[in-house]
């Protein structure tokens, strides 16, 4: 039984157990009812028969007293109306048979009975035997004997049994149907959960969720299961993000190490070469040449210093201890930056137009200054190769983002370089001074602010650098991005 049950699925276990319970209850109930019924029926037959015997015995007093066989036979013949009475005999007090009654098919079998004042009912296998005294004027004058068939009772027992079986069958079918139908209310949630957990286990897809269909304990289970999935999914995503970041920064570091060794080396080589020449020219007494060499050494050293400064700046981007972010009105900020760059603008003969619709962003003032200085210096250096050019700073506002642009009227950047220029030490024009770190710094700062930077440019049609800031709605409410 145990192993049988354990082999069944939850659904069939449920159905089996409920049907079993229903059947057990109905069997017990049926048995109790039928036993009661048969008992009652037996009692009622006995009552009926003994009443009949009493009436008949009372009625036959005169027949017995007068020894009227004719009358006695007539009386007993009235038993024709009671088919269950198979035989009846009227005895006189001295034990002689006064009259007899035999139902059809019965043979005369005169019973040996005691004639006394007691009435009795005894049951044999298939007959009830009734003995009743005939008493007249308190004197015993005879006795009545009746043999009653209990075929009727047997038929009733059989009928009851068949009826009981039919009812049981009906109950079993109904119980089976109802249980099968209702089990889904109880078990469907667990089936769903089971299927879901299987799917999750197979595919490691933690974005799946169970559907809550009821407000009972299953509902609570589903909710908790989903909450667990939420937590797992969150961790899963965080892990993926972290590992991506790690991968990215690893790559960056590799690249960084490579280019830094390469780019730092070139001024070093310059310094070494010209320092050697410088010594030779000093020995030769060639003052002019030695001054030139010393100048070159100085320039190379200066470039190295700039490079190191920029690398330092780059490494600082996004480091929490170095920055203090707050709401910054770019309109105000830009005025300061313009002042700083005024000398270079004048030198290049360029003009800077700052539109007045710049947004307020959440950032560190130093970061913002670096971004715009880098972009504007680039615009001056590469976009204002001849005087009279204009640099424009403006903005457009979208639903979730603020876009700020810096546009120049320079020669533009070929499309294939658009992605590369934001990488470290990528310089398109070696004739212009620079470290190759400016746009890398811009890109890194923007990412650190939760936004990004990109360029829109065509050869000969100037370049537009776009900065995308997340929109600030309520200060302090937005999440910290690092």
């Amino acid at each position: 039984m145990n192993s049988f049950l354990s082999r069944l699925s939850l659904k069939w276990k449920f159905v089996f157990v409920v049907v079993l319970i229903m059947l057990s209850i109905s069997i017990v109930q049926n048995m109790v009812f039928h036993l009661r019924d048969i008992q009652d029926f037996t009692r009622s037959i006995q009552n009926r028969v003994s009443t009949l015997a009493e009436v008949l015995a009372d009625n036959s007093t005169s027949a017995v007293q007068f020894r009227s066989r004719q009358d006695a036979v007539q009386l007993l013949n009235s038993l024709r109306h009671e088919p269950s009475v198979r035989q009846a005999y009227l005895f006189t007090a001295d034990g002689q048979v006064l009259a007899e009654y035999l139902a059809e098919g019965e043979k005369l079998t005169v019973p040996l009975i005691d004639i006394d004042r007691t009435a009795s009912i005894t049951s044999t296998d298939n007959r009830i035997i009734v003995r009743h005294p005939v008493i007249l004027d308190q004197q015993l004058v005879g006795a009545l004997y009746m043999s009653v068939d209990i075929q009727e009772l047997r038929e009733r027992v059989y009928a009851r049994m068949i009826f009981g079986l039919v009812v049981l069958l009906g109950i079993a079918v109904v119980a089976f149907g109802v249980t099968l139908w209702s089990q889904k209310f109880f078990l469907q949630p667990i089936f769903n959960l089971s299927r879901l957990s299987y799917e999750i286990g197979q595919n490691k897809n933690y974005s799946l969720r169970a559907r809550k269909t009821s407000n009972d304990e299953w509902g609570v289970l589903v909710e908790n299961f989903n909450a667990m999935l939420d937590a797992i999914q969150e961790r899963d995503q965080a892990l993926a993000r972290k590992s991506q970041e790690l991968e990215y920064s690893n790559k960056e570091l590799e690249q960084f190490a490579y280019v830094i060794s390469h780019d730092l080396k070139s001024p070093l080589v310059t310094i070494q070469g010209f320092a050697g020449r410088f010594m030779k020219y000093v020995e030769d007494g060639n003052e002019e040449r030695s001054r030139d060499s010393a100048m070159r050494v100085q320039n190379a050293a200066k470039r190295m210093g700039e490079l190191i400064d920029d690398v330092l700046t780059l490494s600082r981007v996004g480091r929490k201890e170095m920055i203090a972010r707050k709401l910054i009105d770019l309109n105000v900020q830009m005025a300061g930056i313009r002042e700083d760059l005024q000398g270079e603008l004048d030198q290049a003969g360029a003009s800077l137009v700052i539109e007045e619709n710049l947004p307020t962003v959440y950032a560190d003032p130093g970061e913002i200054r670096q971004v715009f200085q880098n972009l504007l210096i680039n615009a001056i250096r590469y976009g204002c190769l001849e005087p009279g050019k204009t640099i424009t700073v403006g903005a457009r506002s979208l639903a979730a983002e603020s876009h700020v642009f810096v546009r120049d009227e320079g020669p533009g950047i070929p499309k294939e370089y658009h992605a590369r220029i934001f990488q470290l030490f990528q310089r398109l024009d070696q004739s212009v001074s620079g470290t190759g770190l400016g746009l890398a710094i811009v890109s890194k700062v923007m990412k650190s602010l939760g936004g990004h930077a990109w360029v829109e440019s065509q050869r000969g049609k100037g370049s537009t650098f776009w900065l995308v800031f997340p929109k600030v709605t309520k200060p302090g409410k937005r999440s910290e991005l690092t």
């Binding site: 009625n59 005169s62 027949a63 007293q65 020894r67 009227s68 009358d71 308190q138």
Partner: protein, 195 residues
């Protein structure tokens, strides 16, 4: 004789004498046992008289005391002989029976004390004279003459095929305020039930 009979019978009950008597009459209604002699005929009739007493009820005011007896009066010559005297001392309906013989003559006034009046076949004039007087007196009248019932008698014996049978004038019984059991009426060969 009674004692003798009681002794000869294996049954200890005193009363069982009567069923033995009746055994002889058992055929009277089924016409099986013929009446063979006048003695036996009157023995049968006497036991029938005794049996009648179990199925006839007198009005309640007749028996005032528990000790009241049922008096059986024989009017005319005692053709029953000893068979009637044997009833003396028997009990029916809880009352003792006494037998009184009026063989010499009959005075209607005596009817007050009779509960059963048996008229001998030999003195039909006594019956004719007395029956009208007894009609309202709650006396069970038993006779044998052919006109006994039409004269106002209640139970009449007759011999058919050598068996003793009886007829009942139920109308007269009712007039006399006697309750005759239907069980007895059932056994009568003829019941007169006038309105």
């Amino acid at each position: 004789m009674r004692r003798l009979l009681l002794q000869t019978m294996s049954f200890s009950r005193r009363r069982l004498f009567f069923p033995v008597c009746l055994l002889l009459t058992a055929g009277n209604l089924v016409a099986q046992t013929p009446v063979i002699s006048p003695t036996i005929e009157y023995q049968v009739k006497a036991s029938l008289v005794f049996n009648f007493l179990h199925f006839v009820e007198w009005p309640e005011d007749i028996f005032k005391n528990a000790s009241d007896e049922i008096t059986i009066c024989m009017i005319g010559p005692n053709v029953y002989g000893r068979a009637l005297k044997v009833l003396e001392g028997e009990v029916a309906q809880g009352k003792r029976l006494t037998v009184r013989l009026h063989t010499e003559g009959w005075f209607p006034a005596l009817a007050e004390t009779c509960r059963v009046a048996i008229f001998a076949e030999q003195t039909p004039e006594a019956a004719e004279e007395t029956l009208p007087i007894l009609a309202d007196r709650s006396v069970l009248t038993i006779g044998e003459t052919s006109t006994f019932l039409s004269d106002g008698g209640i139970i009449k014996f007759k011999i058919v095929n050598e068996t003793v049978q009886f007829e009942i004038n139920h109308a007269m019984a009712k007039r006399a305020r006697l309750m005759v059991s239907s069980k007895l009426l059932r056994l009568a060969t003829n019941v007169i039930d006038g309105n």
